[in-house]
């Protein structure tokens, strides 16, 4: 990326109304979209942090109050601690999985690579409910421990519980990025170390891990930010001395108009952007994977029988842990009454019956919203990737920065910002209030998931040799038909990967949508689960809906994965398609 042509700003010919190229118009339209649906709504929320609550004058008093309040300082420290520890535990989970699957010929590789993705496609709060039933104070595990060994382990108490749930939910970010990085390490890197007398953990620590650092760091930064901003899990576990819950409690509290909620929102956004920026800075110039010539990825070796046993044990243990929420959800969905006992009292299909008769609209809404959002994401993703990597448009990198910054915006802040910004706006055609129009949910989802699709499209475009485009242009194709007929088809795999990630994660999103759902008939799955889970009789039905959500998303993911595989094979057969 560093060797891209510099913007043609030096040309110096300035005209009042420059004739804009198609690229420029596209760039401007994307910038307007991002301004309207990301930057301005967020600014709408966080500028309150700078206002005196009574007089409406600009002030920094609120920030002084924030830092003078011991509760907020403590919350900040707690948020930081929980995020950092979640990264540590997510690493402990992801590292063995990534290492074993990339480094050895291991029969379980396919299972891990697909199951490893599953935790991401469950709404975090649903995971927390299921985890409480399994690991809570009187959850299955503790009841059994107490019965047979006479002690309990406080898995889910306080900050530890948050760390536990978050690391299990978000570790796939590290797994996916780290595996990709490990696969890109030239095998001679490792062999050279062995040749010089290094082996085992020592070699991993000194050579393999540092080389995989860029991928690891990208994943770790994501986990850190996600945990730092996440609201649902701490709220469900009743942990309130953290920043995101404090912001939420203060913004949505009964009749309270406390500016501190907005101060905290500002700090959440600023700190997340800082974390992103820091990880970018750290990674700059360290993209080792592409430095090497020739050679394949890490050499895979066979495991000795004893090693194989250990590997399976480690992997099964980790999989049992990370799939525990799904297991708990299954029990809940098929169980009748589950109270103070290791397993439900009996099993039934009744909850699924309830869901199918009452709640099919949630499913269709989810497919419509998440699908549309993912389509918008890949369109924007391809356009931004092309503008950033292949054109000299002035300020093109800012499109990338803006879109990526969506990662740093907590869903609640975006949701509140939309309410603020679009409440008074009446839509034509009798669609009513813009803030309660379901289309806005799609836009919110699209903005929230754009960074995922964008990264996938960027990666895909980087793999398309420039010469392939030049060949098309020298044969007379103009820019737009080159993009349409050469670039996009060659990016198919990456675009689909982006679509899948956006779709799967949008389908379970709740934090922004909960603010925007206008009526039950417009609600997506995650909202429906949330509604069900608010009543005693609805717990089983909510869980059944949760299982459906996981199945739908998993199916979508699987199908797209098949298409990506096919595309990859087709391309492997055609040399020159990849650099």
């Amino acid at each position: 990326m560093s060797d891209m042509p510099q913007p043609a700003s030096g040309a110096g010919r300035f005209t009042l109304f420059p004739r804009l190229s198609g690229v420029a118009i596209t760039g401007i339209l994307i910038a307007i979209f991002l301004m309207a649906f990301l930057v301005l709504p967020v600014v709408q929320v966080i500028y309150v942090a700078f206002l005196d609550a009574r007089t409406g004058a600009m002030t920094l008093q609120n920030f002084r109050d924030f830092f003078n309040t011991s509760l907020f300082r403590e919350s900040f420290v707690n948020s930081f601690y929980v995020s950092a520890m979640s990264v540590v535990f997510a690493t402990i989970i992801a590292l063995p999985l990534a290492y074993i699957t990339t480094r050895f010929n291991f029969a379980g590789t396919a299972i891990i690579q697909s199951l490893g993705f599953i935790p991401l496609i469950m709404p975090p709060f649903v995971g927390a409910v299921a985890m409480s039933l399994l690991f809570g104070r009187n959850g299955s595990v503790n009841l059994l421990l107490d019965q047979y060994f006479g002690f309990k382990v406080p898995f889910m108490e306080g900050l530890n519980g948050v760390i536990f749930v978050q690391s299990i939910h978000y570790f796939p970010f590290i797994l996916i990025n780290l595996s990709a990085s490990l696969r890109n390490i030239d095998r001679s890197m490792e062999e050279a170390a062995q040749n010089l007398g290094s082996s085992g953990m020592r070699m991993f620590r000194r050579i393999v891990f540092p080389l995989a650092m860029p991928g690891y760091l990208a994943g770790a930064a994501l986990v850190f930010i996600k945990v730092f901003d996440d609201l649902g899990t701490p709220l469900l576990l009743n942990v309130n001395t953290m920043l995101a819950p404090q912001a939420y409690l203060r913004i949505t509290g009964v009749g309270i108009n406390d500016p501190m909620g907005y101060v905290i929102s500002f700090i959440l956004v600023a700190f997340s952007i800082f974390a992103l920026w820091a990880s970018f800075l750290f990674m700059r110039g360290k993209d080792y994977a592409t430095v090497q010539k020739g050679g394949g990825g890490l050499s895979k070796r066979d495991l000795a029988p004893r090693e194989k046993l250990i590997a399976w044990a480690v992997i099964l243990f980790i999989l049992a842990l990370v799939l525990a929420p799904h297991f708990g959800l299954m029990l809940l969905a098929f169980g009748t009454i589950w109270s103070f006992s290791p397993l439900p009292d009996a099993f039934t299909l009744q909850h699924f019956g309830t869901v199918f008769t009452q709640s099919s609209q949630y499913i269709w809404n989810t497919v419509l919203y998440a699908g549309s959002a993912a389509i918008i994401d890949v369109i924007l993703g391809v356009a931004i990737a092309y503008i950033v990597l292949r054109t000299g448009l002035i300020g093109r990198k800012w499109l990338d920065y803006m879109a990526t910054a969506a990662l740093a915006v907590p869903g609640v802040v975006l949701g509140i910002g939309y309410l603020r910004m679009f409440h008074g706006v009446q839509l034509p055609f009798g669609l009513g209030q813009m803030s309660s129009f379901w289309g806005l949910i799609i836009v919110a989802l699209a903005v929230r998931r754009l960074p995922y699709a964008l990264r996938a499209c960027m990666a895909a475009l980087q793999q398309v040799a420039l010469s392939l485009e030049e060949a098309a242009e020298s044969l007379g194709a103009n820019k737009s038909s080159t993009v349409r007929r050469i670039v996009v088809p060659l990016m198919t795999g990456g675009i689909l990967a982006g679509f899948v990630t956006s779709f799967a994660t949008a389908a379970v999103e709740l934090s922004a949508t909960i603010m925007l759902v206008g009526r039950a008939s417009d609600a997506p799955l995650a909202y429906g689960i949330y509604l069900y889970m608010q009543s005693p009789a609805g717990r089983g039905a909510g869980a059944a809906l949760g299982i459906l959500a996981v199945v739908i998303v998993a199916l979508g993911t699987y199908l797209s994965q098949r298409i990506i595989e096919k595309d990859r094979n087709r391309r492997a057969a055609a040399p020159g398609a990849e650099q």
């Binding site: 609550a53 109050d65 509290g253 109270s339 009513g432 009543s535």
Partner: protein, 439 residues
């Protein structure tokens, strides 16, 4: 894409026009409550369709405030009377004449309907203690029947409640004790109960959820949570302490309702014996306000109109509650919710000290314990201050009038309270620990 969206939008518009007689209700109630009413109502009035918009109470109020210019909502349907008071004072509710035959004026000392006729109570709710029978049996605990029971050391770590700032119903419970026992007594009681808690949940439903799953033994809940859980088959029971407040859950017609007739029909349906019977649905389990319905309730179903129900019920003072609404919430959060760990540590230490010196005559130790108890119970503000508009205004930025001099910013005030509270709890723990050491 755009074209597709446009076509879909147009299709939606035309379908909306076809069903002109839609009654739109904004509610904080769960589907378990709204669905049976929708079904029963649409059956009784085939000319109407009920459209339910689910939001929590606060969001509903904000929604009605923000959309007043182009109101599309016919009805507001929720528990907390405070929310209706706010809407009424802002002129967002319509004064419609509804026939309320057979429904008495008050239940348990609380007026059922708004005297001015802006909203109507349709179901009564009391507050109670919900407990998990399996949990209680496994831990050999007696059933706690009164608030005072929950203070006892044996319940340490077995109790849960939700924060009053998150749940209007919990707020009413907190305020009921403050009014029934007095400001200082009431707070002291809450702190000793909270010292036995394992969690203060952020959602009101978090408490019944925790009791249902058995992660906690006792929960302080609004009655229908307990009744509905019991009716759904969970091994839980609900008891009403003698000091409780009976408050109605309400329904009101929104000013300028697009379908005023439909709205009126729905309110009348809900208040009719037929509608009232829907409340007995096992998933709902709220107390009907029409005494006639109690003739057909199952054995053991609580009847708030009977003589022996909650003999200590107080006449709830809505004005006092309203004047310090946010202040009480904030004080609860500062002293209990956010500092639960400190409070629990102090209370556990005092309970340990009291156990050690249960029969001892060690005057010094008893003095230390007494001092520690005082520290835990200490309050940063008096009842007079709590009702002083200058103080209350700190928490009511939007509604404060210009002629009241407010004493400070919320963050400032809360920080002062927090410092006061944390220091007291730490000191109390230290004193109690010293008393324990003097065995």
């Amino acid at each position: 894409m755009k074209k597709l969206m446009l076509t879909t939008a147009l299709a939606l518009v035309s379908s909306a026009a076809a069903q002109a007689d839609t009654v739109v209700v904004v509610t904080s109630f769960p589907q378990d409550l709204t669905n049976p009413f929708k079904v029963a109502f649409e059956e009784a009035h085939p000319e109407h369709t009920l459209e339910v918009v689910s939001r929590n109470t606060n969001a509903s109020v904000a929604y009605l405030q923000e959309t007043r210019g182009s109101n599309t909502t016919d009805l507001f349907w929720a528990s907390a009377p405070d929310a209706f008071e706010v809407l009424k004072s802002e002129g967002l509710l319509a004064n419609v004449d509804i026939s309320v035959d057979g429904i008495p004026d008050d239940v348990g000392g609380y007026p059922i309907n708004d005297p001015d006729g802006y909203y109507y109570g349709f179901a009564a709710s009391g507050y109670g203690i919900m407990y998990n029978t399996r949990y209680v049996a496994a831990n050999n605990l007696p059933v706690a029947r009164e608030w005072d029971d929950l203070i006892r050391a044996e319940y340490n770590g077995h109790v849960a409640m939700s924060s009053p700032s998150r749940s209007g119903t919990t707020h009413l419970t907190v305020e009921t004790l403050l009014q029934g026992d007095g400001w200082e007594e009431g707070w002291a009681k809450w702190k000793w109960i909270a010292g036995n808690m394992n969690t203060v949940t952020e959602r009101s439903f978090g408490v019944p959820d925790a009791v249902n799953s058995g992660s906690t033994g006792f929960g302080i809940v609004i009655d229908f949570f307990g009744l509905a859980s019991n009716a759904s088959g969970f091994p839980v029971e609900l008891v009403y302490p003698s000091l409780t407040a009976i408050v109605p859950a309400n329904i009101g017609i929104v000013e300028n309702a697009p379908n005023a007739q439909g709205a009126k029909d729905f309110v009348e349906f809900v208040l009719s014996p037929e509608g009232q019977r829907v409340l007995l649905n096992p998933a709902i389990m709220r107390l009907p306000v029409n005494p006639e319905v109690y003739a057909e309730v199952p054995e053991g179903f609580p009847n708030p109109f009977s003589e022996d129900f909650a003999p200590g019920a107080i006449a709830f003072d809505v004005d006092t509650s309203g004047a310090r609404y946010n202040l009480v919430n904030s004080l609860f959060d500062v002293m209990i919710t956010y500092r639960l760990n400190d409070l629990r540590a102090a209370v556990a230490a005092i309970q340990a000290a009291e156990a050690v010196h249960a029969d001892s005559e060690n005057a010094e130790a008893l003095a230390l314990i007494a001092e520690a108890r005082e520290l835990v119970e200490a309050l940063p503000i008096t009842e007079e201050e709590s009702l002083d508009p200058a103080f209350a205004g700190v928490f009511q930025i939007s509604r404060v009038s210009a002629d009241i001099a407010v004493v400070g910013r919320q963050a400032e005030v809360e920080q002062a309270w927090d410092g006061f509270t944390v220091a007291n709890y730490a000191k109390a723990k230290e004193l109690a620990d010293r008393a324990v050491a003097m065995r």
